[in-house]
Symmetry: C2
Subunit: 633 residues, 2 copies
């Protein structure tokens, strides 16, 4: 590979801008010079060997730069990041420049061999891996310290010199994608492969999961409808419904793993080797030696971090949980007040008033969730985790626990303390529907509308990824840099997770929940697609092989739902009537059934293989080949 680098010509004629770098206004000349030199410099000199061009805007500012790369450079980069491509013999293999000819669709002049998302991911990777050599600071900014091996881009970002780096939209491609995704009214699957090649695997996997989950909810919804239509109140029917739900939710979560494996195998990410994880940008500490790499880098005592977690974060989370419960008690006071009012007045207005506390509470829950989210982000980042993955895990844990309690505590209270099934049903419906409406509004429609207004106010020509009017590159960049940033799939998964809770936790008292969830998810697909294509900057592609910690979160929820449903059924008067003499027998039976169901769940999860047979064989084949190759050495 060393030879290939040498014949790389950095001054290629056909420059295709891929990534935009926005520097702070008034960045010093010497800094810009140094930074751009590092970007275009040869690999051997510690550069990234990319192409860079300033974007000259109308007012003559020179703080925006476009980064591109020659085709050859991108191919070499694809090897560095370890992309996996399909070969001529239909197997997936890690791409190497020397074996490029064996890849399907490879030709020296086929510039679409790498998708634009892949090219942008490669450039991002190369930029982030630009590392300080002997510089002690960023030239021109003595306070922005560097040490050998520190990522330059990360230091530029944390010291505010670099405002943002983002990939450019490809307006042609985006138009095509929008058309096949949500442009026409049709019944069918989403174009996941196209989404993946435009937005990368993480986002495509989210949409894949959303779609799969919606389809998986349809049987529950279909079975749930007659309960509403015929007003079935027989508990034996509810029992059947709940049992079906519990087993079904296990099956769908297991089958998802298989479908996920099929998709990510096709996309190559299932085979991608894990890269060594560098410290996250915000991580700080005293300069020390990393015991793993032996390199100089900031070190932060793990004891201090534990202290922050257990002495500050944990009490704070507990306080928030307490506050959430306090708000819940206020809600019950309101509820009681509304009931009293209704009983006193008995008017249409008063019966409408019965729903008001629930709606207010649902709105308050949403607001609290969002405020808590910021607090959790702040705290977790203050905990100073070294790795992005550990930061994410701590953040997700904090947010999940709070959201779970905040959303479901009142339902648990109604179900198991007040034992009021009617109120439970009403509360569940109000919470579910209000939160769905709020979410769709806050997440997609509001930003969309804000952006439209913003554009109009800017008195620009209508931003027309939609209309076909041609837009200059300058205009495109200027528009895109003002667009919001998509912060990843966290909120989207969280929403689905809470929805799954509403559907499964109390499914035996409110079978209609699945119907609402399906309806919501169908519009969710469209509004999320709209959000990705129209509201936000294009995000960098992020290769991934699964939905990560969310799989565990959904599985935990499905275990909890076994418990709640069994208790609910056991508490029903119909089931109680079956055991007129001995409450003890009743509860023992319920407990036995619960444990049996849990055992069946675990056995099913164990028995259903996580990967389909053919993927298993393909993976085993690759492993065998690499073992053989090792032997040949």
């Amino acid at each position: 590979m060393a030879e290939s680098w040498s014949f790389l010509d950095t001054s290629e004629p056909n420059f295709r801008p891929l990534v935009v770098i926005e520097l702070a206004k008034g960045t010093k000349e010497e800094t810009i010079k140094w930074f751009t030199k590092r970007i275009v410099d040869k690999k051997a000199n510690g550069g990234a060997q990319l192409l860079v061009k300033p974007l000259v805007t109308e007012n003559g500012d020179e703080n925006i730069y476009l980064v591109g790369a020659s085709h050859l450079r991108l191919l070499l980069g694809a090897e560095t990041v370890g992309l996996v491509k399909e070969c001529n013999d239909n197997s997936m293999r890690t791409f190497t420049y020397s074996s490029r000819k064996t890849c399907k669709d490879f030709a020296d002049d086929n510039h679409s061999f790498l998708t634009m998302a892949e090219c942008q991911y490669i450039i991002k990777h190369e930029l982030e891996n630009l590392r300080a050599k002997d510089e002690k600071m960023i030239p021109g900014y003595p306070q922005a310290k560097l040490y050998p091996g520190k990522s330059i881009v990360r230091r530029l970002l944390t010291s505010g010199i670099l405002v943002q780096i983002f990939p450019l939209h490809d307006r042609e491609e985006l138009k095509k994608l929008r058309h096949s995704w949500y442009g026409r009214v049709k019944v069918g699957y989403q174009p996941l492969d196209e989404i993946r090649s435009y937005f990368g695997e993480t986002i495509a996997l989210y949409f894949g999961f959303l779609e799969y989950f919606t389809f998986a909810l349809i049987p529950m919804a279909v079975i749930g409808i007659p309960y509403y239509v015929f007003a079935w109140e027989d508990y034996d029917k509810y029992v059947m419904f709940a049992t079906f739900n519990l087993l079904w939710s296990t099956v769908i979560l297991e089958v998802w793993k298989r479908i996920c494996a099929i998709m990510t195998y096709r996309w190559g990410t299932l085979l991608m080797k894990r890269q060594f994880e560098e410290p996250r940008p915000g991580f700080h500490g005293v300069l020390g030696i990393n015991p793993i790499t032996g390199r100089e880098e900031p070190v932060y005592s793990s004891v201090k971090r534990q202290m922050r977690i257990y002495l500050v974060s944990l009490p704070f989370v507990c306080l928030c949980l307490y506050f959430s419960l306090y708000v819940m008690m206020i809600y019950f006071d309101l509820e009681r007040w509304a009931l009293d009012y209704h009983e006193e007045n008995e008017s249409n207005f008063s019966s409408l008033m019965l729903f008001v506390p629930s709606i207010i509470y649902a709105v308050v829950i949403e607001i609290m969730n969002r405020i808590y989210r910021y607090a959790a982000e702040f705290l977790t980042s203050w905990e100073n985790h070294r790795l992005e993955s550990s930061y994410q895990n701590h953040l997700i844990l904090k947010v999940l626990v709070f959201n779970f309690l905040n959303c479901f505590a009142s339902l648990f209270y109604i179900a198991f303390v007040l034992v009021d099934m009617k109120l439970l049903r009403q509360s569940l419906a109000t919470l579910l529907i209000t939160s769905q409406i709020l979410n769709q509004f806050v997440e997609s429609l509001l930003p969309y509308w804000l952006q439209k207004r913003h554009k109009r106010r800017m008195k620009k020509r209508m931003w027309s990824l939609k209309t076909d009017t041609d837009l200059s590159l300058v205009e495109q960049v200027n528009l895109e840099k003002e667009m919001g940033t998509y912060f990843g799939t966290f909120d989207d998964y969280l929403e689905l997770f809470l929805q799954f809770g509403y559907v499964s936790l109390f499914s035996c008292v409110y079978p209609l929940a699945a119907v609402f969830a399906v309806l919501n998810n169908i519009t969710e697909i469209y509004s999320d697609a709209l959000k990705m294509c129209r509201v936000y900057k294009r995000p960098f592609a992020e290769p991934t092989a699964n939905i990560g910690v969310w799989q565990l979160a959904f599985e935990t929820m499905s275990v909890i739902s076994v418990v709640t449903n069994c208790i609910l059924i056991g508490m029903s008067p119909q089931v109680n009537a079956l055991f007129p003499d001995s409450k003890m027998d009743l509860i023992l039976t319920v407990a036995l059934v619960e444990h049996l169901l849990l055992a069946i769940k675990f056995i099913m999860a164990f028995v259903i293989p996580d990967k389909p047979k053919d993927i298993q064989i393909k993976l085993a084949k690759l492993e065998f080949e690499s073992l053989e190759a090792l032997k040949q050495q």
Copy 2:
């Protein structure tokens, strides 16, 4: 490496016999010639490049061969099997011949760099990997078919030409080991590292687990003793004991993983790469193409196997379980009869008679377990699994389910159907103690005694690994080949597993169980050590990084024990007295506590890292280095 093979001289003067090959008497000359030629032949000609010598016995038979190898050959073999050795910088690295100088204690003339167990493992690996080239059958035996790639040794074994292959004992080493292991009365740890270098990792890990488990039971035993001494019958004390037990059992299983990681890291097996698994010897099928390797090998339809499993094995297991329950009911009849007899007669004899049914039942359980074990082995081997690991998993599953039911069904019945805590305590004690005595007898003492008698009858001089009288190689081989074969750690782990069940499932009614378990395990260590050193042929070393499926089995048992203990406590009159009015509240409380305990268990299992911090760092360092090396390529 290719060069190194060429200067390997197969006719080395100092031949050290390592492995014994026993052929059937009257094996044809041409077969022997062909087989020994393949063993000594050069690698390039498809041989194993080992040394082989016939053992000329007194009666002139030539059916026993000794296999050895030159030091250089063994080092090359160590690279092939992927041994991991400690380097001069104290890190563990995969051994390669070219980097041999970086290894600790390596010197060209240091023949103890590889332990004898490792040398024997290498020879076994090389022999098993002798593969047929263009031979269609074993010369001289047309019915013993071969095809390209078939392991010659496995075919020789399955067609009965090869009687056995076993490694020789090293009498000097064994004497030392015996001395430091059980030769002197001392309080202290077992010499696990010495056991490992003599018997290999699997066996050392078993003894490590046995020792660890015994130590871990001591706190339970210590807390359990006052219950017996002061005849405590307060249920609050029992509750405390049970709660302690439940949490403790989770902790010990999690901590074991860490200790296991420390040991196997030191031994190098934690880092050993998984080898590609070849079909097991007994596997048969029509010749076809393996989709993974692309090689010709027997193929057996997975549908047929599933049919055998679900249509034959499963019904058979169910039948056995039914039979076991039937026997249990007979036991209860006997029990009732003994009770009636005692009530009628009220004599010392009759009160002794009360224990007889339990003892008989315990003996019957042991017999049934052993018979079932053979049936399970037969069935699982008839299921024709392709891989040894899948065979083992199916066998373990079959045996565990049956043994669990067979041993514990009567206790469950007494506890939850008869609700007779006194009988439960008595039954538990009888079953536990009887099975422990029986096991020690059948496993070690009986074979030891049989062998002694056998030797005396052979009128040989006393087999004296013990006494220092010198024994010729011929005599040693002749003695060792008649010794029993150790079939692996399965039965030993199973015994511990059932013991763990007796200790934990009903710990809150019989705190003394842990005391008996500790006492048993202390003698078990000695009798198992005796068994390994005196009764059985030396087994081949088997590298392993953990106790495999047994970890899961123990964890499952500890989950089940949470459930049983909670129910037992809930059923106690003392706890019942706390809820005089509402049985419902009682059971709900119990269920709540149970779920809380289970949740705590899972959280603890999740929070306690499986590997200690320093091992994690060492592993991460190795991974980082290999990633860096990949980048350099």
